[in-house]
Each structure stands twice: as structure tokens, then as C-alpha cells.
Symmetry: C2
Subunit: 451 residues, 2 copies
Amino acid sequence: MAPAAITPVSPPSPTLDNTSRLTKAGTITTLEKTISNGATVAELDASRLTITPNLNPKPVPAPNSPEVWSQSYTTDHMLTARWTEKHGWEAPEIRPYGPFSIMPTASVLHYATECFEGMKAYRGDDGKARLFRPDRNAKRFLQSATRIALPGFAPEEFLKLLKKFVGVEAPKWIAEKGSFIYIRPTMIATAAALGVQRPKEALMYIMMVMFPTLDDPSSRPPSVPTPGAPLSNGVTESKPVPASKGMRLCASRHDMIRAWPGGFGSAKVGANYGPSLVAQGEARARGYDQILWLFGEECYVTEAGGSNFFILWKNKQTGRKEMVTAPLGDGVILEGVTRASVLDLVRSGKLGDVDVTERKFTMHEVLEAHNEGRIIEAFGAGTAFFIAPVQDIHFRGTDLVLPLGQDDSKDGKKGDEFAMTIKGSLKDIMYGRWQHEWGCVIEEQTEMQYE
Amino acid sequence: MAPAAITPVSPPSPTLDNTSRLTKAGTITTLEKTISNGATVAELDASRLTITPNLNPKPVPAPNSPEVWSQSYTTDHMLTARWTEKHGWEAPEIRPYGPFSIMPTASVLHYATECFEGMKAYRGDDGKARLFRPDRNAKRFLQSATRIALPGFAPEEFLKLLKKFVGVEAPKWIAEKGSFIYIRPTMIATAAALGVQRPKEALMYIMMVMFPTLDDPSSRPPSVPTPGAPLSNGVTESKPVPASKGMRLCASRHDMIRAWPGGFGSAKVGANYGPSLVAQGEARARGYDQILWLFGEECYVTEAGGSNFFILWKNKQTGRKEMVTAPLGDGVILEGVTRASVLDLVRSGKLGDVDVTERKFTMHEVLEAHNEGRIIEAFGAGTAFFIAPVQDIHFRGTDLVLPLGQDDSKDGKKGDEFAMTIKGSLKDIMYGRWQHEWGCVIEEQTEMQYE
């Protein structure tokens, strides 16, 4: 028999909080489903969650400290749930954060059977902890998992687990008003067998990582390389870099394509990231922050690194203000939660009279609008970089300097008012200044049982 | 500081065989290179290999036993070499096979920063152990690693390590003449940090796994599901399956593509596999062995599952026998070692008067040739499935039954003579019956120092 594919390194700890539902007769009921051979397997069931507290808790580092910039400083706990083809989902656990033991033959190490989500928890001005539209992350997590043959689950059960986990960690890790933390739900295939086949074992886990405010370049500490610094791989800078006012994008080459219709660009799977790192590393070495991914001979604009890309311009025909972004549908771009929120917010009319268009548009249209002075601003929208105004775009030998990157002394306009207004509105929701259904208040465990 | 990303679970064992080169003065010399900041980092250096024997060796299971079919039964040792951005390659080790300890934040678990190779070692009729064209695997391993920003290395150093490792394991694990074992070199990014960036730490490892003879359906034990058996995911069979004479292929749907120009289909990276599992699972549930991956509206034929695809037909214009396979160049198909060997062998003329063509060809051409009775046979070629004759292809509602799948009583022709001749020739090289430069004899450690 193959050894168990993945196990905690430390022995299981005693359960302090078994919330499994008891029937009146005292037997534990679990969610199950019947599969084709007549057997039943357990569904993911948040009510079976157990909590094992970490008896060696860590200190909380200062915001934007080097520990935070390392993007590896995790909280005291993680949530894990194991799945097997034979028995379905085992009882989820919150337990001390620590390494996994994994066999060298595990599927995830060979076949990229892995997917994840990215989201944040915020400490509001009113003292409450919030998630932002976590139901959308839950649904997308399910879509990503099933795209690569990882097991399905009820999104609402995942959401219950997520809230419970945030409720355990929030009191300590986002104690200060205005603070936030990054949350990384992940699923990996763990069965120790080399056959290229549907995963037979998987592990869902959720962890939290201290994260810098990537949308504010001034928060970057001296020890962290700024965009434009030479990388240690021998690629040195090709030109001097001006002081950064916003995100600097480098359009992808025609021979380096991120995603394709019928592929998996819309799923948050590992396979979209590893193959993008060479292009991204080259762009960073040349002083750019992210790749602007183009598609096809037409040079359709798709995504900006890990963000969706928006442009605000005067429409060529109508002369009206129009916000344009690439459409969903052909599966090439990620259905970002921030993307959807920007679209909803601007369509609501609260930010003024702006037309909103989801359509395919090309880099040549952007160039034309630039040459005709019609571009007002451009920005990326995503969880990690939040709303990030764009300063310039390098496209096949041409540096397209957007209003934000130009001399701003002319009329005092900075070229990021619209993006900043959107950002302000979303922040108001995240931090509870604007009571809104997108802000999901978390019930916190103000006292852990072990304290 | 982040904890070390990946460590052996067991403490380091004493070194029994330190083959590091000593200079006359007694100091150890290592291969190094200078990087852009003037620092030197160590290159991968086979002469620094150390060996720690496994003091709890396992029994060797019988060929095609259930243990072997599990594709998870490894040998006693693995070879590992750690790399860091700061110091380069550490000394490689052969050590007892066992689990890794890996942080939940490790890059490989999120961003598919992983690549691998697949090859076999054979025990020849002359008693010698051989690899088959391992220099090609070494070069491709390097290409795959650098495609996803993993560290580079000198292929010849990797090759030395590979041979040394096979030399340690071969005496026990391929003791019987005619036996073989599967070898899986792997590289993964291990740094514990969530930033989407070039890997800062990596682990190269090589392991060996007992493998069934996948090219011989009769070797399949009763406990292993045969193609056509319903899967446990609820997908049941759509039609009765005839006794299998060869590989059954199901052409991919237009909304599920494997790779695209400018992507990474030619690299052996994890990202090519996970996203293919859903389509493959559906095909297997319907009784097919592999997906025949098509590309574009033209339905270009690219690969057959993990194999390259070849067709032998009578050319429409010349009437001559012609072997056709998809070309390299646009990066959509894998540059298979078996593929190259089939091309070289047939081009050499040793197998008769057959034209060889590498060009784009469509499924419609295959259909036309089938309708005109011009198809002689078709086969997949790859390391895992070796030379696998194709019985039929399902393409958008049509079952295209190749000569191998048709009633063979007419003229005694079986529809796989050509493939079997190729297979026989390659086997002769692998097992030393045909002394050929492609057969790479391994110097074995006939007595391990610990025995």
C-alpha cells in the first residue's frame, strides 16, 4: 500500500471544540451524497469543524515591516480539510500553522493539480472585522477546483469554514482599525501515485499571510527591491526609471501568451502562474511592475499581471466618458471579484455619468485614443494590488505615457481621480464606513478557549 | 525570517561516500558562476554527490502486481539537490526515499512552479543496465525548468547524477533480464512566500517508480479498472466496449484545448497536465484510453494523451506509404524522445520504403483518408505507453475504426505491423540486442557500501 499522501508533521492534538451536530439520540450526523456505485461519501461539512489551538503563538509584526514584505509571515493557525475518493470530505480542522509532510510522488508536485483563492479581511472603523463579497470567492474556488478535477463542495459550507477561521484569527491579527490581512484558500491533490489521472486524495487548506499595501508604493521599505532595480539573474536595467507615480505595464510579446479560448485562463489554477514568471521577471528587470497580457494578432488587451485592466477614455463616436474592460465569456480572463465590484459600482451611477462597456478591445485602439488625447486614465483592479492606477505602458518599442505619468502641473489633474474615487468607495465598504451588503461582518471568537 | 521551505523529515544521516573533488592542497573545489552583482553561486556539480544508504530497504514487488499498478511503489533511495538564489546549487545527495516537509506557502503548491521528466532504465539480455537517449531528457529537463523560471544547470552534470543514481538502484530493482523501471526527475520551487515571482529556492529530485507494461493490455490485473469501466464520479458508460486490441482515442472538444502557440505545450511542466484531467476522466469513463488533442477550428491533430501521435497512410497524391506526425516549432506539442527516435529510425530506411513527413494535418484529412481506405495504421509514441497502436478514434459523433480495430480475418493483416516493427527495433536497442549509440550502458554499484 502507498503511504498516506499527506499528513501533519506533528501528531494530532486533542480536540477542544468539536462542533459536530448531535442528533437527539446522540449520534453524529454528517452531510453525505450517494455516488454511482451506491456508496455514500461525506460532503464538506462545516459543522464537523474542530479547533486545536496553537500553544506557541507568534508576535504580530508591524505593518509594512520586512517580515510583512516577505509575504511569508503567516498567522498562528491554518484550516485543513482532507478528501479521499473513497470516503469524501473528512472533518475540517483549525490547527497550528506548520509544514505538511508530502510524498515526492504527490500529484500536486508533478501535474499542477492545485488551485487557490485570494481575499482579505479588514478591521473596520467601527471595530468590526469584515470580508468583501466572500461568496464570490467561494463560488470561484469551486469552479477552479473542478476545472482541474479536484473534488467539489458546497460553496456555502466553505464559506462557513472561512468565516469561522477568520473569526478565530481576526482578534489578534487585525486588531488595529484600518488593518487588513491576506487570506489564501488552497486546494492540492495529494495522492502519492504518478499516474496521470483524476486525483484520488486532496487537501483543502486556508491560511492567512501578513501582506503589504501593494497599492501604495510609498509603503515599500528600503530593503525591498523597487521596480527598476536590477535582478540577480544577470538581467540589468535598460533605461533609467522615473519616480513611480503608479503601475508601469509592459505589454506581452506575441510569442508569450498567458491564456487561450478553451484553456483555463478564467480559473484560479496554478497552471496560469508558473509559465508567466519568465515574462514577468524580464519586465521587472526592465523597470515595469506587471505584464499587460495581450492576445492574438489583433493584440487584444486581456489582463494586467494579477489584475483585471480598465481604461477610462472619451468614446471615439459619442465623445462621452466610457470605462472599458475585457469581457468574460471566452474563458481567457479571470472573473475578478474587484472587477465585478468596479463594474457594479460605476454602473450604479454613484460615481457620475460614465458609460460602462465590457468588450474586446485592442492595444491599437488604446494607442489611437492616446494619440488623439482621449485617454483619461487606466488602472488595474484585483485583490492583491487593489485599485492600481497605471502610469505608462510599453508596447513594442513605444512608451505610451498615460496622463498619470505626464507632467501634472498643467491643470492640476493627476490622472487617477476616477480610480481613486472607486478605491475610496470600495474601501468605505471594506472598512464599514459605508454600510453595504458587500461587506460581510465576521462573528469573532473574542476569547479563544485556550487563553 | 521564513522557515526553511523544504527539509527532509528525518535528520541528515552521516555521509558514507563523499566524492567531492579534493585539490592537492586538500580544499574542495566546486563549479561556480559569477552573477550580475559580482557574487558567485555554485553550479550543479555531480562530483559533490554524497550517498546515504537506506538501512530499511523494501522488497521488490512482482512485475505487474497490484503494487506495481499503483504507480506509487518507489525504490529505496532518491537523489536530491537543493538550490537557492543566494548560493546556487548545494551538494547533491542520494538518500533514503521518504516524504518532504513543505510549507503550505511554498510556490509549487500555488503557482505550478514544477517540471519533470519521464524515462526508463532497462536490464538487457546481456545483463547490462541501460538508459535510452538520456542526453535528450537532460536537455529537455533544462528547457522545461527555465520555461517556468526554475534554475538552470549543466545538462551533463544532471546526466552524471542520473547515471550514478541508476547505478545505485539498478542491481536490486531491475535485477531480472527484460525488466525495466520508470525514472522521474522532478524540479519544484520551494520558497515559502506567496508573492508571484521568480522562485528563490528550488529542489531537484530524482526517484524511481515500479511501472506496469502499459503498452500491453493483457498485463492489466483484474483489480485495475479497464478502460470502459464506469468511474466513481457518477459518469457511466455510454456504450458497450469491445475487447481492446489497442489504444482507443477520443478527440478533444473544441472548448477544451491542451496547448496553444506562445504557450508552454512543448515544455514538460505540471501546467500541461492538471487542466487536462477533466477531459481525460470523461474520455476514460466512456471507454477511451486517451484524449486525441486537437487544436483550432481546423482541428489540427497534435498529441494523444501523454504520447505523440503518428499515422501511416497511403499519400493521396503519390500513393506511397507515408508516416505523418505533427511538427515542432510552434511549441504546441512535446518534443518526445520516442517521437524523435521513431522519426530517425524510419528515416534511416531500415524499416522499408516509407516517406516521413512532419507537418500540420487535420482530423478532416484523417477522416478523408479513412473513407478512401488509405489508412494503414496509427500509433502513439511516448515513454510511459511506449509504442501503442491505435484501434479507433471518436471524433464528434463519428467512430473511426482503424484497421487494427476492424475484423482481422479478411487477409490476416492486423493493422499494427509497422508499429510493432518500430517497437521491436527500439526494444532491441533498449535491451542490448542491437548495439546502438542510443543505448547508454550504466556503470553499476554492484556492492553498496552498506551491504
